[in-house]
Symmetry: D2
Subunit: 251 residues, 4 copies
Amino acid sequence: MIKEGERAILIDERGRKYLVKAERRQLHTDFGVLDLAELIGAEPGARIRSHVGREFVVLSPRVVDYLQKMRRMPQIMLPKDAAQIVAYTGVGPGDSVVDAGAGSGALAIFLGNLVRPNGRVVSYEVREDFAKVAEENIALAGLSDVVKVKRKDIYEGIDERDVDLVTLDLPQPERALAYVDGALKPGGHLAVFSPCIEHIQRLYVELQKYRFTNHRTIECLVREFEVKPGATRPSTRMIAHTGYLTFVRKI
Amino acid sequence: MIKEGERAILIDERGRKYLVKAERRQLHTDFGVLDLAELIGAEPGARIRSHVGREFVVLSPRVVDYLQKMRRMPQIMLPKDAAQIVAYTGVGPGDSVVDAGAGSGALAIFLGNLVRPNGRVVSYEVREDFAKVAEENIALAGLSDVVKVKRKDIYEGIDERDVDLVTLDLPQPERALAYVDGALKPGGHLAVFSPCIEHIQRLYVELQKYRFTNHRTIECLVREFEVKPGATRPSTRMIAHTGYLTFVRKI
Amino acid sequence: MIKEGERAILIDERGRKYLVKAERRQLHTDFGVLDLAELIGAEPGARIRSHVGREFVVLSPRVVDYLQKMRRMPQIMLPKDAAQIVAYTGVGPGDSVVDAGAGSGALAIFLGNLVRPNGRVVSYEVREDFAKVAEENIALAGLSDVVKVKRKDIYEGIDERDVDLVTLDLPQPERALAYVDGALKPGGHLAVFSPCIEHIQRLYVELQKYRFTNHRTIECLVREFEVKPGATRPSTRMIAHTGYLTFVRKI
Amino acid sequence: MIKEGERAILIDERGRKYLVKAERRQLHTDFGVLDLAELIGAEPGARIRSHVGREFVVLSPRVVDYLQKMRRMPQIMLPKDAAQIVAYTGVGPGDSVVDAGAGSGALAIFLGNLVRPNGRVVSYEVREDFAKVAEENIALAGLSDVVKVKRKDIYEGIDERDVDLVTLDLPQPERALAYVDGALKPGGHLAVFSPCIEHIQRLYVELQKYRFTNHRTIECLVREFEVKPGATRPSTRMIAHTGYLTFVRKI
């Protein structure tokens, strides 16, 4: 049951999604006006109607809904990429994670959702404007107890120890390597996201100085398909590149 | 600290990985003989030596280690694909999951690691030989409390209710749709893995009969790179196809 | 030396390309006004200037210039795909080709350029508006002696015999198979372009009735790269799908 | 009609291909012994039988047959890549081409087949063993009048002038750029094949010194499909990388 002040998802007849709060307020849509107070006490799966009679399905938000609807900063790592961090490092409940930079907090939220309730994500960010947006997004996703934004330059040090996973989405990841080495527990993983090949070339030079193992650099491509009777085909256009992901493991 | 009878990972000087038990037994490798009793009481990051003096690093296993080292049945879904289920459905701690068929249990273990300790995965399997292997692998991964193998044909019904996620890796996923619809909670997701396009074509015909939303069919491709000074390039060969993933959400 | 009435390519300082005729006429561009009469008698590589002094390089057009600048009809086969026909069939000077449908003539021109001067391309087209545009484009590319548009439905028959290559870009290629079989010489190739997988599924059923060999279905993907100092990466977006190409050879 | 001493293609009942000479000799296959003298005077499409009665279809070879059956040196450029040179440069009958290094001659033969009979391909090669194999392959393909192997280091100069296309498949293409600039006619194209990204990074630095336009770097991926009733899917494995192709045009 959705309580007053809680978030809810509304899905209209076209499949369009709205992230709203159950409160005494109206929502204006091109399918008519909704009274959001009707959400208070509603069960997921309930249907409410706009003043013109169009139906909206009520759902409880999941992390994918928050990630789609939150305010984005100019970052390009997508869920398809974040998901590969799960595939290669096995990050899960209880893990301790250090992330930098926070940006809009998307990766920190994605990881925070996986390590909760006992794990922790500390996300380093030097820009105050990014840090604020990240904190708002983390609060929106209900993860403020799990994910913390730290206003600190990760090039100047990592305070955390015995960390299971460090994720870096930075222009010069090689500058943080010594601190990553100190922060990770044995067997812990580092995941680096790099849009350009030069980042990786510099990173590998620096990686030779540390005892990491299992160096893997990958690129994850996701193609979407249009499946229609008699006309099934890949979509004409796709996101062809967000970035490369490099994984190493501390030994 | 690793206790007697617990699992440990050993990594030799080439980066080769061994999944072993801390017990009073010898392990023969091409880098010499190891006394596994030395693991009892060792801390992750410790080093032990073979009788010829080669060094092995001791680590605690993570789920990726179990998935790599467990006994596999002829299945083709890879971690890259399982990870996209996280990206598209946000599966995480506390979720209730139904999976079919279990096969070697790889996907059930991957998901069990993410929903623990309070979530549950029930994995349907009709073949007794597969069910046994899956149960052994689940036990090896330490997830017997979270992941259960159910010896039942999912084409004949799903017993669970209020489920967050159903995953199907079956020849005829369309035959399970009515039961999936009954098992999922509103807002819950279905993820279907299909090696061949005909499975998807049949599935979409059947999907029209149910109130699902957000139909997405994707293919996830992962390219590996060789990063060497002066010679950086994608690997010559790659796994070009495992299967298509179709996602829908119940409303 | 470019003669009066011949086509020329102009390239401005940004690399933008213009396909023009050497004639007593002005060309207005956002880099100023050009007197196209200056092209008469010019050598490729010459430079002419607009009235505001901006420089344009004069070149003789190649087939790639005509293909880029000609009037396009709604077709989606791209040069990357046409090129695979060369890779798989070895089409070259002297070959006899049948093509359907002509569309804007792009593929017919691409092939005509390869089989000239002694080869022939006959391109079937039932729509008069398409046939006219195709003929204009063929004339523009200077290939009217090599490439002919035939106003006939290829589903009703192919008149040519001893053909080296048939190319089909049609909704129902399987309906032309019997005629293709009659038209091809032994060892000749058929290339079919199909945007949707259902076309291919139907085609393969029908192909079983004929003595073709070497069935191959492929998809050609071309990724572009941005190469800049310190920032080399694949382009963010790409054309992910135009169509599938199926090749068989008559025996 | 095939004459004595000419090449022919035989295709057995499985689709396997043999490149043979019409001569008074026996060919031993696992489908029995064939008398190749039967080929003399045969028409393409004729059938001959082995001593155990298995049927072989007789065809005239096309360039794709020679390329598949010739002796290969360790080179990795594939027809899919060579074909993109056609797509981007429009190379065709009558063109003058300079190529380096020859390797086994595969690219030179591919291009020679397209520019014949009036065009020319000069292929530079410093290694005598490669040059000999290339010449044998060129002779096999019947292109000795069109394609010449030049035993010269292209890093030391290009003798040809007014060239339409230069193709470089060399470790240090940037060292040949000044000579390429001198050899190309205005509007002519350079195509460079590079397995590693570092080659391209160095090439672009050097390209800034010349007046080339239309810089494009691409990667061509070809996926094969298995099309079977009820089981249509991309092949499990593919060649994921041969090399990058860079195109520029002289102005």
